[in-house]
Symmetry: C2
Subunit: 146 residues, 2 copies
């Protein structure tokens, strides 16, 4: 695997590590306005999904769907937002973001301007976030174990 | 398939139709600042990727990867942006957006504020966009024909 010394996702976990597999890792993003905001980060430095071979793509998306399902099961958001952008850091990473109708930006994307003050429903120390984190790690382990 | 009379993606194509398959369609978005902005829209009214069974998910993502590849091959963007949000219209649709370093918003997401005037490289009447549209329809046909 070729690491790029200037790429922050090659040199750092990019968030609070929840799970690490052979080809990707899952982290909790440091986004206090958006509790549960999770990123699935490809291990190797690749920019686009079509830089991966089909089996790699399917494996990465299986992790994304797993995160989405655990968010739905435990956090009960009003909507899930998925995105792979990478304009600033062109190293494949998926944003998996639980959204609530009363969050600061809803229905706008989290990258738009805020719509309201919208105090986040959960904080970093909420017990439910710890439950989510542990359940997510267990479900990802189970997924990879097949 | 259950159509929702209040859902704009159940009642309208949602853009200039490029291709229609049994379970999804592909349209050019009406976003003059972002030429080539393409949407892949699931035919049935479903909100989340995990509302689909795995084979449906894989089929939908195969269309997304096909759009991404044709954009890379013909439009040569600096980056591809992928997103499934649906906060306003909770009917599964993927945004596949070719981005250029000098576009109006780069490196911000298209949903953030503009960074500069950034005249779009292509306009609705650019010959390259017509080539992209026709090539995309042909590649999607070939993909589905297997």
């Amino acid at each position: 695997m070729t690491a790029h010394p200037q790429c922050p996702l090659c040199t750092d976990d990019g968030g609070e590590l929840v799970w690490r597999g052979k080809s990707a890792r899952v982290v909790l993003a440091d986004e206090p306005q958006f509790p549960g905001f999770t990123r699935v980060i490809w291990a190797a430095h690749r920019a686009e999904m079509t830089d991966l071979v089909p089996a790699e793509r399917a494996g990465l998306m299986a992790l994304v769907w797993c995160v989405e399902q655990v968010q739905r099961d435990l956090l009960c958001p009003d909507k899930i937002n998925l995105a792979s952008l990478g304009n600033v850091v062109p190293h494949l990473h998926w944003h998996v973001i639980p959204r609530w109708r009363d969050d600061s930006h809803f229905p706008a994307p989290v990258w738009a301007g805020a719509e309201r003050d919208g105090a986040a429903r959960l904080t970093k120390s909420s017990p439910l976030l710890a439950v989510y984190r542990d359940a997510l790690a267990a479900r990802l382990d189970a997924l990879v174990a097949g």
